[in-house]
């Protein structure tokens, strides 16, 4: 559980993403999709991004991974750097080897007729030598636990496995930053919880920096270093999860407040996140629960 254990002092961490006042309007659109967005990601961070539909989260993901402005022409301003190099002018496939994007619908990212052929697709496009391709395919399949599925067609895979196959395909490009756009939207609650475990384990094993766009905050907020809320194309909140949710609550932002967060906010100890007002006296029904569960901010 991380809850923002991001060390701020000491060694300078490599800057993975650096967005300074970035604005972007799609060609042919009158409204900017991104409005003076500021975002900094350091190496190894696990950042959760949320916000209402249409607020610019997907545009943000496209920006970080180079689709904007290279595939999606439009007006861009501000400074956007990934791993120290500007996005503007970089080719998509160059950025893709640094920042990988797993789109919302895994089905549309699986092209080949078997899983292993699909994982090989990226390296094939990069014209890598044959033995390197084989190594990467084996590695990606091992990392995502898909060795048994390697000969199966994507259509036959369950939602969870399709999701992993899409990730395996992106991993074969060997990015150091992984951006996932609503990865659990097609998964049921059990599969989603397993996915979170899978993702956190994967990212610590490969040492990747992760940015996850999600609506289901309750799944991710305990494993994230920071929570960023995007509204109307700008990041309005950017802090470790608990303070971030506090800010959202104060500003009445439309995010899916995890119920565990709301409960502990009301009945948890004052010391946990510096609540200034005295908390209301718990009712007779809640008291025994608090006694049993203790004062932990453990959501489960």
């Amino acid at each position: 559980m991380r809850f923002g254990k991001w060390p701020t002092q000491g060694m300078a961490k490599e800057s993975v993403v650096s967005l300074k006042d970035v604005s972007f309007t799609y060609q042919g659109s009158s409204k900017p999709a991104l409005r003076r967005v500021n975002l900094d990601l350091g190496a190894g961070e696990f950042v959760l991004v949320t916000g209402p539909s249409g607020s610019g989260k997907t545009s943000l993901a496209r920006l970080i991974t180079g689709l904007i402005p290279n595939s999606y022409p439009g007006e861009i301003s501000g400074e956007a750097k990934v791993f120290g190099e500007s996005i503007v002018g970089s080719k998509v496939h160059t950025v893709a080897q640094k920042a990988g994007l797993v789109l919302q619908n895994p089905e549309n990212q699986l092209f080949a007729l078997t899983v292993e052929d699909d994982v090989a697709f990226g390296p094939e496009n990069l014209a890598l030598p044959m033995d390197e391709i084989v190594k990467r395919v084996d590695w990606s399949l091992a990392m995502t636990g898909l060795e048994d599925q390697r000969h199966r067609p994507p259509f036959e895979l369950s939602g969870g496995y399709q999701q992993r196959a899409a990730i395996a395909g992106v991993l074969a490009m060997k990015p150091k930053l992984l951006v996932l756009d609503e990865p659990t939207s097609s998964l049921d609650s059990l599969a989603a919880r397993n996915f979170v475990k899978f993702l956190t384990r994967l990212c610590s094993e490969i040492g990747a920096t992760v940015l996850v766009i999600e609506q289901r905050l309750e799944l991710f907020y305990t494993v994230s270093d920071r929570l960023v809320v995007i509204e109307d194309g700008s990041s309005v909140v950017d802090a470790p999860p608990l303070p971030a949710l506090d800010q959202c609550l104060t500003n009445k932002l439309p995010v899916n407040y995890p119920f565990s967060y709301l409960f502990w906010k009301r009945y948890g100890s004052t010391t946990k996140h510096g609540a200034k007002k005295p908390l209301p006296e718990p009712s007779e029904y809640v008291k025994p629960i608090l006694q049993r569960r203790g004062d932990r901010i453990d959501p489960h």
Partner: protein, 255 residues
């Protein structure tokens, strides 16, 4: 609505000599059989072609699959027989045309039964077709079941809003297609945009050449088959030209 017809020519993973052949060889076989079938007027040739095809199908253990796929041809067969009956009334000629139709239509059957879709794509690529076209082919194969499912969803949803597709005049029925086709097309087009993005993110089209991690290899068995095809075509050619030795087997059909 069952989509069983999509399964008519479906690949089944077995290990037979035919399965092991290079898909390009099988493609060539299909072409040769189809061409020979279309260009002949001789029932003996047709019978020979049919027998060889049946042999190939039995070696590849796909006879029952092929038999089932014939169901899709029943309508056309009936059409041929009826037309023949109306124009000439000659039972031999009718049988000939019906058989010829079966031979030509089946010429590609074993290709689809014994070649995995991914090998088909590879075959296209290595035969010299551009990577873009080969990819379009593979993507189409890959997404056919997905689109079929999408169509089913749209069909269900619109019927749940009271859409009737089998009632009323012809005009009514045409109109009832709009609520089905518009969402389907919009969905497919939207999907292609997403696929295009995903392709870019995996570096497609970035470099002039791409490596192929699995290459089809032409083996001795393939060479043998190609030689056999050449021999077969030679026989057929000689037979038609009227080489004396083979005239004994000739039965001409008058048109």
């Amino acid at each position: 609505m069952s989509f069983a017809f999509l399964r008519a020519y479906r690949f089944s993973k077995l290990d037979t000599p035919i399965h092991r052949l290079d898909p390009r060889t099988k493609l060539l076989m299909s072409v040769v059989f189809a061409v020979l079938g279309i260009t002949t007027l001789d029932p003996v040739e047709i019978a020979a072609l049919l027998i060889i095809q049946l042999l190939i199908l039995s070696v590849s253990k796909s006879l029952s699959l092929w038999f089932r796929s014939l169901r899709a041809l029943v309508f056309f067969l009936a059409l041929i027989l009826v037309t023949q009956a109306l124009t000439t009334g000659d039972p031999v000629q009718s049988a000939f045309f019906a058989l010829r139709f079966i031979v030509v239509a089946s010429a590609t059957s074993w290709f689809f039964f014994t070649t995995s879709p991914e090998d088909m794509g590879r075959a296209l690529e290595q035969v010299g077709i551009s990577a873009d076209v080969a990819l379009s082919f593979t993507l189409s194969m890959r997404f056919i079941p997905v689109i079929a499912e999408e169509f089913q969803s749209v069909f269900d949803a619109q019927r749940a809003r009271g859409l009737e597709t089998s009632k009323g005049s012809l005009v009514d029925r045409m109109n009832s297609l709009l609520p089905l086709l518009v969402p389907l097309f919009v969905g497919v087009i939207r999907r292609t945009y997403e696929i295009a993005d995903a392709l870019e993110l995996r570096g497609y089209g970035a470099l002039k050449t791409r490596t192929r991690w699995k290459v089809l290899r032409f083996r001795r068995a393939d060479l043998a088959v190609v030689l056999a095809l050449v021999a077969l075509s030679a026989c057929a050619l000689l037979h038609r030209v009227g080489f004396p030795l083979l005239e004994f087997f000739t039965l001409r059909i008058s048109l």
